[in-house]
Amino acid sequence: MSTDLTITHLILNASPVVQFVIALLVFASVSSWSMIFDRMRVLKRAVRAADEFEGRFWSGGDLAELYRQIERETDDESGMASIFRAGFREFARLRTKGHKDPMAMVQGAQRSMRVSLNREVDRLEHHLSTLATIGSTSPYVGLFGTVWGIMNSFTALGNVKQATLALVAPGIAEALIATAIGLFAAIPAVVAYNRYSNDVERLNNRYDDFVEEFATILQRQAVT
């Protein structure tokens, strides 16, 4: 057995199971990082859009005008804008239908906004569960690879009379690589999951607040 202990050498010399585990973990790491970058972009954009929309909403313009503007901007309806549109559309529709009960109109609009909000939050939370899964399971997967590798290395050790450190060390080293990669995949995933779920929670709260405020405004309009 060669004593070359570079990482590439160890990985190439590892047993098939360990190699498979390593490949799995590398894939998990790549996908988790992809999701991290993806979420980073999506959440940043959502926050920015929310800021922008709140600015526009509270600038004191006509709501119908705002609605029309948003309708015209047919890019991906993100965040608060889509909630506003769903609510306002429902409200307008009910009003044109000639409903006289203001509470019913507001409630309808609120329901429709709630649906839209759920959809938005779901869109933001997309993939976060995958990140959590990677974060929690990849150490175990890596550990499995390590245990398997050490098992193999000890089985090989059983066949010789004189056990030397040089005989076991490479096997254990290559087995430990699996754990290392597992941790390498898991740590960023866990960190990102915590960070992003917190971000999503805060956005959710903002949306909620907005829904309530908008409902209040609609109610005021319906009563007058």
Partner: protein, 292 residues
């Protein structure tokens, strides 16, 4: 994953890039610990520039002059050097001569010293010999003295011993004589005592016989020429031990014997002496014969 690729391929590319970077650092980062190869030495570069002929000539002239000057200087130098060498040689020669002289002197001194040393050694040797002789003589004297003393001592001892022996002998003789005399005296005394004792005993025996005969009932007629010897055992005080009377020599007449026996019993206590004399009466043999 697929949806991410579809929706946001940039992030996937970024992730792949990141992993590639990490892998690169992992693989090549290990090699960083090895020292890098030393840089190959640079080749020598020839510095070239153009010159014109006149200048060249001038410079040549100059060089020649310089060369001549140099030659001169070199010759001078050589001369100087030769002179110096000569001088040095002379100096060396002088030094050598001086050294030789000094060496000769030193050798002479050495020879002298050696002679002196030899003399001294001889003197020492002689002294030593004399000393040893003296010592040997002294030793012999001492030995003779010791021997003499020992002899005298031995003689004295021997004499003393003889004297002591003679004295002892005389003493022994005197003692023996005295002992013999004492013995003789004692024997005499003993004899006298024995005689006295036997006399005394005889007296007592006679008294005892008398007392026994007084209480003897003679068996009457026909017993006049009979006799018997009876042995009596006594205790101090004169009493007869019961059963202590036995006939040693019977008379042949049983009645006579019995009469003697009963007479002894009847006569008890017998008059016996006290003290040492009683010892002769512990077993008493009596011869009875009807005297009348």
């Amino acid at each position: 994953m697929l949806s991410v690729i579809k929706r946001n391929p940039v992030s996937v590319v970024l992730a792949l890039l990141l992993h590639g970077l990490i892998l690169f650092f992992l693989i090549f980062g290990v090699d960083w610990s090895n020292p890098g190869k030393p840089a190959t030495p640079k080749a020598n570069v020839v510095q070239a520039h153009t010159v014109d002929a006149k200048q060249l000539n001038q410079t040549k002239e100059k060089e020649k002059a310089a060369e001549r000057e140099k030659q001169r200087l070199r010759e001078q130098e050589q001369k100087r050097k030769q002179a110096e060498q000569k001088k040095r040689k002379q100096q060396l020669e002088q030094k050598r001569v001086a050294k030789e002289k000094a060496e000769k002197k030193r050798q002479e001194a050495e020879v002298k010293r050696q002679a002196q040393l030899k003399k001294e050694r001889q003197a020492k040797e002689a002294k030593r010999k004399a000393e040893t002789k003296r010592k040997a003589e002294m030793e012999a004297k001492r030995k003779a003295e010791i021997e003499r003393k020992q002899k005298a001592e031995r003689e004295a001892k021997r004499k003393a011993e003889a004297k002591r022996k003679a004295a002892a002998e005389a003493k022994r003789k005197a003692e023996a004589e005295a002992a013999a005399r004492a013995e003789r005296e004692r024997a005499l005394q003993e004899q006298m005592a024995a005689e006295q004792n036997s006399r005394e005993i005889d007296r007592y025996v006679a008294v005892i016989k008398q007392q026994v005969e007084r209480s003897w009932l003679k068996p009457g007629q026909g017993s006049e020429d009979l006799s018997c010897v009876v042995q009596v055992r006594l205790i101090p005080g004169g009493d007869v031990v019961p059963g202590g009377v036995s006939i040693i020599r019977s008379s042949g007449n049983a009645a006579f014997d019995r009469s003697v026996e009963s007479a002894v019993y009847k006569a008890a206590p017998l008059p016996v002496p006290s003290g040492l004399l009683f010892e002769s009466f512990r077993t008493l043999k009596l011869n009875f014969k009807p005297s009348k």
